[in-house]
Amino acid sequence: MLEIKNLHVKLEDEDKQILKGVDLSVEAGKVHAIMGPNGSGKSTLSYVLSGRDGYEVTEGEASLNGLDLLEAEPEERAAAGLFLAFQYPVEIPGVGNMTFLRTALNAQRKARGEAEISAGDFLKLVREKAKSLKIDADMLKRPVNVGFSGGEKKRNEILQMAILEPKMCILDETDSGLDVDAMRLVADGVNALRDAGRSFLVITHYQRLLDHIKPDVVHIMAGGRIIETGGPDLAMEVEKNGYADLLAKHGIAQEMA
């Protein structure tokens, strides 16, 4: 599904290397989690994979089912099945959530050479998906994310995921700013989308999200690299002992992480 090899990334405007050789392979149907201290490069990885401006890939490669992600426009990556659930979903005043969802879905279908969805079918689809995420009709009518609570914004991200049906979902700190109930709702939404043909990369600071979204593989990222890979136990270990021991083991100073 997702193949990342020796990925090196620096900031475009600054001489600052963020990713220093990331290797990662996510198989179809698997949930991988990436944990790591602040500044380890987790969010940068998610932005580079989805094509945000401001970064320069200096070395390495990344592909999604054979598509060279680094050469593709963000919309091409999306049409190929990549989805990034934002840590801070963006507010777009004046554009209705429904319009946004339908524009996105039809754009992806068009890019894949599929027919546009009819207004009736779309409405049915959105209603069905929204219901399971406890998103009410009012939230669908309002402008994209405007006046949404933190929990509503994150649920709206998952709703987009449910409607766009991507193959590779990256969740960038989707648990940040959520209370326990909101987190459970979001996790339930993600779990409902787990499928043999769909993979997840869950980026998080804390183990608690992984209580709800059970990962197959856990990676620890620090200093711009993946320094440790293991099973769900690895997340428990970090939760218990923190990152200090792991960083020391790999010779990464805490402030450098």
Binding site: S50, G51, R52, D53, E73, P74, E75, R77, A78, A79, F83, L84, F86, P89, V90, I92, P93, G94, V95, T99, F100, T103, A104, L105, A107, Q108, A111, P143, Q160, L164
Partner: protein, 425 residues
């Protein structure tokens, strides 16, 4: 050297002012006022950012009439059509000038004795202080046609004034007057381009509890020049709402002068302007002056401009709160979205307040497309240009929301979308 050669263009233009029949006293008064104030020059503070030269030149710069290939605006809406072609009323293309709740006369046929004789030119004249607006005065003196509408009840359908022109030197002066009696209500739609160089004026008298809705879509002609004026007086509990969509146009100056004279009155004026100067120049100027002369008045000015390839946008807006106009709520926002580094937006927002218990605010911003929002949309699969178009609509939303009626709003949005589709890249 003859006398004519010694004249400045402005003097030459003044010498050519004609006074058509009807409303004689008002027209003569306007001519005298115009001679006293003169036509604006480049040094005029009020014309600092918009060059009036082409507006005062003896002859218009020729403009090839533009063929609008879009479906007719408001074509599906039941409305009373009043068509002016080349500045002349076109009876054949127009509906019967009869509608329940209103009385319609034509300026060119009204003569001197009618309900409008005490009103014609008075709101325009009242709007000349503290700033002179010579093109409006020229209009009062020389207008050759227009419609005079007296609204006595609730107009049973909107009135649509439609302009069209076929001569590339068409230079019409049209003067419309709307008198809303107590509690009356009307929606006026105004669409198209009146001429290569047009001077269009509205005087709107809103009586107690009356409601006036105005939705204007200026024609898509690239080469045309237009100077327009709206002069209104709003009595207690009255409502005045005007929205203008402008796309294209070598030169457009839209002035709006609102006088809130009764308590608890509302006046909203909004505009969305779209300009792409890639192949033709675009210069758009919104100049607004709102006077609060009564208590608990509410006014809103919402002006948005989308500019690219060297397009120029101007906003001059003022709120004047007179002594005693307590509990005034005045709001003004002017914003531009620059789609490249070549375009320019100049704004002069002003507040002048002589009452102590008021809420007034003004803001002006200029900026580019929000990159984060653009990335968000693209990450969902929306291609760059379509995402940009959505963000432009997002930017314009506040202005469009000033249109109260959803069906009109939808037509405006459709027009905006097709403009954006034509001006990608």
């Amino acid at each position: 050297m003859s006398a004519v050669e010694k004249m400045t263009p402005a003097e030459a233009r003044l010498a050519r002012v004609s006074l058509p029949d009807g409303f004689g006293p008002a027209r003569r008064d306007a001519r005298d006022r115009l001679n006293a104030m003169g036509l604006p020059g480049r040094r005029d503070e009020y014309w600092r950012w918009t060059n009036p030269t082409d507006l005062i030149a003896p002859e218009p710069v020729p403009a090839t009439p533009f063929v609008d290939d879009e479906p007719e605006l408001f074509g599906d809406i039941d409305r009373l059509k009043i068509v002016f072609r080349d500045g002349v009323f076109d009876a054949e293309a127009s509906d019967d000038l009869a509608l329940e709740g209103i009385e319609i006369l034509r300026l060119a046929e009204a003569g001197d004795v009618n309900w409008a004789s005490g009103l014609y030119g008075t709101l325009e004249a009242a709007g000349q202080t503290p700033v002179a607006r010579p093109f409006a005065t020229l209009n009062t003196a020389s207008a050759t046609d227009g419609i005079l509408i007296r609204v006595t009840g609730r107009a049973s359908k909107p009135v649509n004034v439609i302009y069209d022109y076929s001569s590339e030197v068409c230079d019409p002066i049209l003067h419309h007057l709307v008198k809303l009696e107590e509690g009356a209500e009307i929606t006026v739609l105004e669409t198209g381009t009146a001429g290569a160089r047009a001077n269009q004026l509205w005087e709107v008298d809103v009586a107690k509890g009356a409601q006036f809705h105005h939705i204007r879509v200026q024609g898509r002609d690239h080469a045309r020049r237009a100077v327009t004026g709206i002069f209104t007086r709003v009595a207690e509990h009255g409502l005045f709402k005007s929205f203008t969509l402008t796309s294209n146009g070598a030169l457009t100056r839209n002035e709006c002068v609102i006088d809130i004279v009764g308590d608890d009155a509302n006046a909203h004026v909004a505009g969305a302007a779209l300009g792409d100067a890639k192949s033709d120049p675009f210069h758009h100027d919104d100049t607004v002056f709102i006077t609060h002369g009564a208590e608990r008045g509410e006014s809103r000015q919402v002006f948005k401009k989308v500019l690219k390839n060297g397009a120029e946008g101007i906003f001059q807006g003022k709120i004047l709160v007179k002594p005693g106009a307590q509990k005034t709520d005045g709001y003004q926002i002017s914003q531009s979205l620059l789609l490249d580094e070549d375009s320019e937006f100049l704004a002069k927002p002003e507040l002048e307040i002589y009452a102590d218990d008021v809420v007034c605010s003004h803001g002006s911003t200029t900026g580019a497309i929000d990159e984060t929002a653009l990335f968000y949309l693209r990450s969902r699969g929306v291609p760059h240009e379509e995402a940009t178009a959505l963000l432009v609509l997002s930017f314009l939303a506040d202005a469009i929301e000033e249109i109260a009626d959803e069906q009109f709003r939808d037509e405006i949005v459709t027009r905006l979308e097709s403009w954006l589709a034509r001006h990608r890249g």
